[in-house]
Amino acid sequence: MSAVRSGGRVAPALLGWVVAALLLLLWQLYAESAQELYLPTFADSAAAAWDLLTGTALTSDVLPSVGRFALGYAIGCAVGVAVGTPLGYLRPLEPWVRPVLEFLRALPATAILPLALLVLGANGGMRVAVIAFGACWPVLLNALDGARHVDPVLIETGRVSGLGRTAILRRIVLPASLPQIFAGLRIALGIALIVMVLSEMYGASSGLGFEILNSQRRFMVPETYGGVLVLGLIGWSVSVLFTRLEQRALAWHIARTGGRSGA
């Protein structure tokens, strides 16, 4: 019985890996035969990626990039939750701030890079600030909306239990809006990554984004692809980590509703 069941689950998963491997093989064979300038073989690209991860570039470019991304993301999310949740709970304020917030959210964060460079200078702090800027709006707005829509019965239960406003915010509104907040956190993750990469392509002299652009400008094509592969690897790991975290934090919600309400 269990063999049949696991067979039913293994086969499709295996197919996925087989297809992926086949596509890589296709890439490799085509690149080898076609000899196009802009399409290196998978093998060369992977080798370049490996160099990036094991050579000096690891400490001079890759890790600092990841560090800036993580810091900017963390700051942006913290600000988003800290500001958005009370704003949503304190209903009267919401109509005042909404247009400004919606505007800031709609503004592509990368567009402020040139001006941020001008005002804050070309340094790591500026990049972290811009990453945080990009990350905070989706989190803020989601936290706001989540807090707004907390079931009033839950809040009344809190009031009847003698909780003050701060306690209600902390112990009821925040946990209740967590699913919505996580949806915003996931969106912010993608944005933070984009801003991190772009901040290193514009007016930068180090970092993974800079490495990729620099390689392209010097027509070091396998290195360009290698950098993209490393970036993909980072993006994938971060995404997997996030999903794990989300599953633990929202275990109660997932079990109850049978699925995420977010993305």
Partner: protein
């Protein structure tokens, strides 16, 4: 005669609607004595929930007084617990049953809070489910958790808003028995709102009958039936039948033109 724990005098509550105001409660007066089980019945939509919320301080009243142990009260009434009709929405989904029951006990040490929670859960026969989550429980069990929470809070006063309206008949019978046991054992004062007339008579010491909106108390009946009450035997007593008939008549339920204009039962 025990003291009154709650006294409502001339309560008035209006809601703003599109073109003006609608009066939900007009000049309502009642008193709940210490240790008493008082039921409030009335036609649908007459404002029973509004009444409870005004007493609890969750709604601002437009007129009248609410006194708790003789003192006028503004805002949320201290030392009370409210058991909602929508019990499933009043339990925090991210907390286990035990933590839900412990929720009001924020002033106590962990050990003491855990002990009280355990005791309360035992009273409602749910100790085995302390580690479960609310959504894993049936409706009747969730309502028992809400009751346990009120018990753990050592609330002297429990306001209950049609708590058994959304459970099936058999579960309701069990819950009524649990409620009576807990009430007797802990000496609670209970203000119990229901639309179920038999339930009101079965459980209470007194029954207040409200009018159609805008509500006021139109009748007060002493339920002089022997305790402990029993689901079968008490309901067979002639006095029970008399009380039932009387309340039926007051609410206009005994006539054919049930939903006719002007009848109290019409909404």
């Amino acid at each position: 005669m025990p003291d009154e724990i709650i006294r409502v005098d001339g309560l008035r509550k209006a809601f703003a609607v599109r073109d003006g105001e609608t009066l939900a409660i007009d000049d309502l007066t009642l008193g709940l004595r210490q240790g008493e089980f008082l039921s409030v019945v009335g036609p649908s939509g007459c404002g029973k929930t509004t009444l409870l919320r005004c007493i609890a301080g969750l709604l601002e009243r437009d007129g009248g007084d609410v006194r708790y142990r003789g003192e006028r009260v503004r805002g949320v009434l201290p030392g009370l617990q409210l058991v909602f009709q929508e019990f499933n929405r009043s339990l925090f989904p991210w907390l286990t049953v035990e933590r839900n029951v412990r929720f009001p006990l924020h002033g106590l040490s962990r050990g003491e809070a855990a002990e009280r929670a355990r005791h309360a859960l035992a009273l409602v026969h749910l100790e085995a489910f302390a580690g479960h989550y609310p959504w894993q429980l049936s409706g009747g069990m969730q309502q028992r958790v809400a009751l346990a929470r009120a018990i753990a809070a050592r609330a002297e006063l429990v306001l209950m808003d049609e708590p058994f309206a959304s459970v099936d008949a058999q579960t309701r019978i069990a819950l009524e028995r649990v409620l009576l046991d807990v009430w007797r054992e802990l000496g609670l004062s209970i203000l119990f709102v229901t639309h179920d007339i038999e339930e009101a008579i079965l459980l209470s010491d007194r029954v207040l009958v409200l009018s159609q909106r805008p509500s006021r108390v139109i009748a007060e009946l002493d339920v002089d039936l022997p305790r402990p009450r029993d689901q079968l035997k008490t309901k067979e007593l002639p006095r029970f039948q008399d009380l039932r008939e009387e309340i039926f008549a007051l609410l206009g339920l005994d006539r054919d033109e049930l939903l006719a204009a002007g009848s109290p039962a019409a909404t």
